[in-house]
């Protein structure tokens, strides 16, 4: 049956048809939809884990029990999971264990562009790289087989373009195979990594790598396509598709297995073409391996190491290599500068109010006007974290000074305080991110007598990645009732004495709680609670602006709400975007009381 599937849907279906029994993940673009799709199948246990480290450990435990298991995560998620990932590579597996790692070249939705192919080398494990959804589907069975055959976790590396593109998949199977009976076989030398055992495992890992390299030579996922012999292209993943497009006459060695590499196959292909190029995204992973083998190939001299590759960039590189003629493509000439359209906090977002408070207490509006940003000054330092709320760093709110990685806001704030930075420090983190990796930072703050203020933005979901459940929501990945971690109880249990819960849309309360927390010489946690406006759409009566009272002071525009718009030197609130009564933050901050429910505003004003 032919289906149009995203790479992520195809990974899920491929895993299901390969007999996966336990699947784990923490949401992260571009990997999130893999677990969402697995969770819809019967007879598979799927969970949102607290973070990627836990996800890897749960999958590893399932593998030790003899069933097929997988963990999926984005590229930086593997950083979080790297400890159990390396441990899994050391102990090996029982049931097949597959780690799907989704890289994000171009950093469409990430804090960096790291190339996770290096992890396969670090862990000495096999890595497969599909080039479309069909391969995403097919490769999963190979990955599970390899894992069991070679007693190793197998890594499947995808990228945003593979995971999120939809391409045709021919699905031949309709059912999952019967599962093995779960059973843990006692084997302390394999599973208990005491130094004495670990020293035995290491040579086994090296032997495994040699055997995998032998296997790679005849692995059916590495394919040669012979066309002209003038140009040979070694490539993998989505870069293969671009290369086929841009160099239609060339011969191709397409690597479906990119670690370990098939040295004989590479040598033989290289010796049969006149000129050899390597087409790959991000780092010269394949090219450096070829160079180490003494094979001459060009690639990264012309193809950027930075950003996502596409056929236009590759064509340009082909021109610089002297392989392709000049492009006839005509550029548009226009003096008009088109305004950008970056993503924004949504109308009715529960983060807008607290950011406005932090922005005004921190006198942030003046930052935007300071020409030399290094001299910009604010009485408040705001360390930030990862989620929708990172968008609060943009104008007009400018309410975030740092964002490094999941959970870093708390440790960073503590570090600034201990360095005697001389200003009040506020850490801002979302509910899902706090549970992911903020708890240990807060424990550190309690232990080391910190006086920072921590604001937890609790919108009851993992919003940025598309509203996944988490331990604080009480609903499982498969939509069932689950245990619920109460934030207030958890935080008091850690030992924080000053804990308050504030309504995200009550501006007066927000302001007074932040003020009071900043004044207190102790560690304070403010939980700002309000439903995500996209996940829980509550439409009330839209707000409107009375233009007779409005003096265009622009304070409401400082919220950065996309429903508040300026046309022809007048401000108005777009009723189809405004969520109305549940929010009304603009109404609370208008110095002229010019904003109110639509029905209370004179008709002429809303025209």
């Amino acid at each position: 049956m032919r289906k149009l599937l995203s790479g992520n849907e195809a990974f899920a279906l491929g895993a299901y048809h390969a007999g996966v029994r336990v699947a784990t993940a923490y949401p992260g673009t571009p990997s999130t939809e893999i677990l969402e799709a697995v969770a819809r199948f019967d007879n598979v246990y799927a969970e949102w884990s607290t973070n990627e480290k836990v996800a890897m450990e749960v999958a590893l435990g399932a593998s030790y029990s003899g069933v097929r298991a997988m963990a999926s995560m984005k590229q930086v998620g593997l950083n979080v999971a790297s400890d159990p990932f390396m441990a899994a590579a050391t102990t090996g597996v029982d049931g097949g264990l597959v780690v799907i790692c989704a890289d994000d070249p171009g950093a469409h939705s990430s804090q960096g562009e790291q190339d996770n192919r290096h992890y396969a080398r670090l862990a000495k494990i096999p890595m497969l790289e599909p080039a479309d959804s069909q391969e995403a589907y097919d490769f999963m069975a190979h990955a599970f087989d390899l894992s069991e055959q070679f007693d190793t976790p197998a890594m499947v590396r995808t990228t945003t373009r593979i995971s999120h593109s939809k391409t045709v998949v021919d699905v031949k199977q309709s059912q999952a195979p019967p599962a093995r009976q779960p059973e843990f076989k006692y084997n302390a030398a394999k599973y208990v990594m005491l130094p004495a055992h670990a020293r035995i495992r290491h040579p086994l890992m090296e032997e495994r790598l040699v055997k995998l390299a032998e296997y790679a030579e005849t692995c059916p996922l590495n394919q040669v396509t012979w066309n002209g012999r003038e140009l040979g292209v070694i490539t993998s993943g989505v870069a293969y598709q671009y290369a086929r497009e841009v160099f239609p006459g060339a011969s191709f060695l397409k690597l479906g297995m990119t670690h370990p590499l098939p040295h004989n196959l590479l040598r033989s292909f290289a010796s049969r073409v006149k000129r050899l190029i390597v087409v790959e995204e991000l780092d010269p992973f394949l090219q450096e391996n070829l160079q180490a083998m003494g094979i001459e190939a060009t690639g990264k001299e012309f193809i950027p190491r930075v950003g996502e590759l596409n056929p236009d960039i590759l064509y340009e590189a082909g021109q610089k290599m002297g392989i392709l003629p000049g492009s006839p493509h005509r550029k548009i000439e226009s003096s008009v500068e088109l305004p950008r359209r970056p993503p924004l906090l949504c109308p009715g977002c529960p983060h807008t109010g607290i950011f406005f408070v932090l922005s005004s207490l921190g006198q942030r509006a003046k930052l935007a006007k300071t020409k030399d940003r290094t001299r910009a000054d604010s009485p408040l330092i705001i360390t930030g974290d990862i989620g929708c709320y990172t968008l609060g760093a943009y104008p007009p709110l400018l309410a975030m000074d740092t964002c490094a990685c999941m959970g870093a806001s708390i440790g960073e704030a503590l570090g600034m305080e201990k360095a005697n930075v001389g200003k009040k420090v506020v850490a801002v983190i979302g509910d899902s991110t706090f549970l992911h990796s903020g708890i240990t930072g807060l424990v550190d703050a309690v232990y080391n007598n910190s006086q920072i203020t921590l604001v937890i933005l609790d919108n009851g979901t993992t919003a940025m990645t598309g509203h996944q459940e988490h331990p604080g929501t009480g609903i499982s990945a498969q939509g069932k009732e689950a245990g619920k971690v109460e934030l207030e109880q958890l935080i008091r249990g850690i030992g924080v004495k000053d804990v308050s819960v504030v309504d995200a849309f009550d501006m007066k309360e927000l302001r007074s709680s932040v003020r009071s927390a900043l004044e207190k010489p102790e560690l304070s946690v403010i939980i700002v609670r309000g439903d995500c406006a996209v996940r829980v759409p509550k439409r009330g009566e839209p707000r409107a602006i009375d233009i007779d009272s409005c003096n265009l002071c622009g304070v409401c525009l400082l919220l950065g709400c996309s429903a508040i718009q300026r046309t022809d030197e007048q401000l108005h609130i777009e009723p189809s975007l405004c969520v109305g009564d549940t929010c009304a933050v603009c109404q609370q901050i208008c110095p002229r009381q010019a904003i109110g429910p639509q029905s209370m505003i004179p008709i002429k004003a809303t025209e």
Partner: protein, 201 residues
């Protein structure tokens, strides 16, 4: 069939991904190879979205090269201008004559281009420019969210697929309570574009 490169653009929240999913399903039902990819980023939060669809006997790259698009369907007019460079000379561009000003415009830090400026950019590439009052029509239909399907209707006469295949895909992808209104929106769009051959105006 001739290979077809189709682009759909607009602002996050306008239903672009659903529209391009429907095109993909129509193409696969017609027996073609299809690849579809979105530069989605954080689209749910109102950012600019561009969806690429490539339909042919065999497709390699999911991304369309600049200057190789056959048809650009824009649900917002600034976005039409932004992505016009993807169109091939004399490609078709269908634009919803509606502005969603980005925040920078409301803050007074940037200026929204005039209709003439937008048309000037589009006409450097093609004379086949169709401006459609899609948002108004969707409001008249009683549900502004039908805009995406209405605009698909406008694009459909230029695409080599049967009306019945379009209807089947739309019916499959939309929940029952909005199914009929969207089928009507599609048909109205199909008629509308035939009435406004303003390409040469």
């Amino acid at each position: 069939m001739k290979p077809l490169n189709l682009l759909i653009t607009g602002a996050g929240g306008q239903g672009i991904i659903l529209a391009s999913d429907i095109v993909g399903e129509v193409a696969i039902a017609a027996g073609c190879d299809v690849k579809k990819t979105d530069t989605i980023g954080m689209a749910q939060r109102g950012g600019s979205v561009l969806s690429h669809m490539r339909i042919a006997r065999k497709v390699w790259s999911p991304l369309i090269r600049e200057g190789e698009g056959d048809l650009l369907l824009a649900l917002e007019k600034l976005e039409a201008a932004r992505w016009a460079g993807y169109l091939k000379p004399e490609g078709i561009v269908i634009v919803n004559n509606h502005a969603l000003p980005p925040l920078s415009v409301s803050l007074g830090n940037a200026r929204y281009p005039s209709d003439d400026e937008i048309k000037d950019i589009l006409r450097q590439i093609t004379s086949q420019v169709f401006f459609i009052n899609g948002t108004e029509r969707a409001k008249e239909l009683g549900n502004i969210r039908t805009l995406n399907i209405f605009m698909l209707g406008c694009a459909s006469p230029f695409l080599p697929f049967k009306v019945s295949t379009w209807h089947e895909s739309i019916a499959r992808r939309l929940p029952e309570k909005v199914r009929d209104i969207n089928l009507t929106a599609f048909d109205r769009g199909r008629k509308e574009v035939k009435g406004v051959r303003i390409g040469k105006s």
